[in-house]
């Protein structure tokens, strides 16, 4: 029988479902008999799910406009410099 401490140590891989089947069964067995560890597992799982379920917000219009304007400037400057050979990665922008 696993101790609570051992359960907690494996909790991450249990949550990510990346445990090998035998260890997984041991954790399931522990959670079935230890209410505390079951609650910790359940609420951790819900914690992760709630974060994964959130959609990213649309960009505020002002932020979006600023981004687009900057990209357009960048594209314009790159097009005009197109005939030059590509420089090293760290070269300052034209």
């Amino acid at each position: 029988m696993l101790t609570c401490k051992e359960f907690l140590k494996e909790l991450n891989d249990y949550l990510d479902d990346t445990l090998d089947p035998e260890l997984r069964r041991e954790l399931e067995g522990h959670a079935a008999e230890c209410p505390n560890c079951w609650v910790i597992f359940d609420t951790s799982k819900k914690t992760i799910q709630i974060f994964k379920g959130l959609e990213p917000q649309p960009l505020p219009a002002r932020v979006r406009d600023r981004l687009m304007a900057a990209l357009e400037r960048k594209m314009a400057s790159k097009t005009s410099a197109k005939t030059r050979p590509p420089g090293p990665l760290t070269s300052p922008q034209a």
Binding site: L8, S44, P56, V63, L71, L89
Partner: protein, 175 residues
Amino acid sequence: MYERKIYRLAKHITNSDEDAEDVLQETFLKAYEHLDSFLGHSRFYTWLVRIAVNEGLMKLRKRKTDRTVSLDETPEGLEEPVIREIAVWDGSPEKKYSQQELRALLNQAIQNLKPSFRTVFVLRDVEELSTEETAEVLNLSVPAVKSRLLRARLELRERLTAMFKKKGDDVFAYL
């Protein structure tokens, strides 16, 4: 859609709307600038994330008042995560709160994490990068990513449980 996710990521890392806006812009400008160097070794999105994380961490380091920035530090107390709140949740928060309310609550919870935990959690559980991709982006070992992720998950679980638990009957909640 990438720009929304990168903006969210930048906000999570920097905890600042203003810095996030700069990070968003720098990320797309750099990506465009260095498009030639994207050789398809990783997913395009992972490559964007890497640029955004670097820009975001630079912003954090520049803020002189923030002394908790280093991602390389060994987070103290990693061995013994704190578990105080042991209570089931009162139904499903997704049904009780609007997306906007939930977002505010979750952002607040995330912002209280140390940057070294926060960044790992956001990459793994919000942006859904793999453990290996997260390790690569942050220049951390896989075990370091895993131990920080566990710590971050448990800390957030504490905070969320304190907000979402059944009130008044903690002790009997699971009997």
